[in-house]
């Protein structure tokens, strides 16, 4: 799977306003909702479900990246959005470091394989130092979109 297959570029946030975890998740879910990707009236339910999942175990996987996610029947396809934070967010990350890039992923309830394929794409790139650095340096949503599209073409990014 490629980023372009599941990332909603219209909802990308270049500098997220919230500085704490739940606020960031809510801001990302609101951006997806504004882009019309969550269906009617699901925004709050999905936000709560993501936070509940996050409370069970942090998705702050280290190196300044978090990948909060949930499976929810409101969506038919995997949908994701990216936010960058210039200030850093406390995500209770595994390495206890602040998070500067957040990938929020909402996957359909009954398609575990698609969820795994989307996660594979995210993780393939976020473990590359260059990709993380470029993402952190991005100033606008367009730069983030360009980076993700370039990563789709270039497996080593």
């Amino acid at each position: 799977m490629r980023f372009a297959d599941f990332v909603c570029f219209d909802a990308v946030i270049a500098d997220v306003q919230a500085t704490e975890r739940n606020g960031v998740i809510a801001e990302l879910a609101a951006a997806l909702d504004r882009a019309g990707r969550l269906g009617r009236g699901n925004r709050d339910k999905i936000t709560r479900a993501v936070i509940k999942r996050e409370n069970e175990a942090s998705t702050g996987v280290g190196k300044g990246v978090a990948v909060p996610h949930v499976k929810h029947k409101a969506v038919k396809d995997v949908i994701a959005v990216v936010a960058r934070s210039s200030k850093g967010i406390d995500f209770s990350a595994l390495d206890r470091q602040p998070v500067y890039a957040v990938f929020l992923l909402i996957s359909p309830a009954e398609e575990p394989d698609k969820h795994l394929q989307a996660m594979e794409t995210v993780f393939k790139h976020i473990q590359q130092e260059k990709f993380r650095r470029f993402l952190r340096q991005s100033q606008t949503a367009e730069e983030i979109e360009d980076l993700l599209r370039e990563a789709d073409e270039n497996p080593s990014l």
Binding site: E56, V61, K63, H69, L116, Q127
Partner: protein
């Protein structure tokens, strides 16, 4: 202590596959051993003690993974990981079992 290499193939048997929670269980179990642990599918080989790398495998239900441990406790490590993946199935249901809500 004697350095040994031990290999085994395991099959993912929980319906949702190796998503993040099972991957973290795997990393936790693997990290309890001194041996170096490598996990591979057909395309990639990753470090079994890294959550970032394990999440890259996208191991769906039915996927076969090759485990390779090298070190003084290689045999015990492989046995513990095989039990986690195939017997405990990460404490998750298989495809025909009722899902826990």
């Amino acid at each position: 202590m004697e350095e040994v290499v031990y290999e085994s193939e395991v099959e993912i048997r929980n319906a949702d596959g190796l998503h993040m929670r099972p991957a973290m269980q795997f990393v936790d179990t693997a990290s309890g051993f001194e041996s170096e642990i490598k996990v591979s599918n057909d395309q990639t080989e990753v470090d079994g003690k890294s959550i970032m790398q394990m999440s890259m495998l996208a191991a769906t239900y039915g996927t076969k993974l090759k485990l390779r441990a090298e070190g003084c406790d290689a045999c015990e490590a492989i046995e513990a990981l095989r039990e986690l993946v195939e017997v405990k199935k990460f404490d998750e249901p298989g495809p025909n079992e009722k899902k826990k809500e």
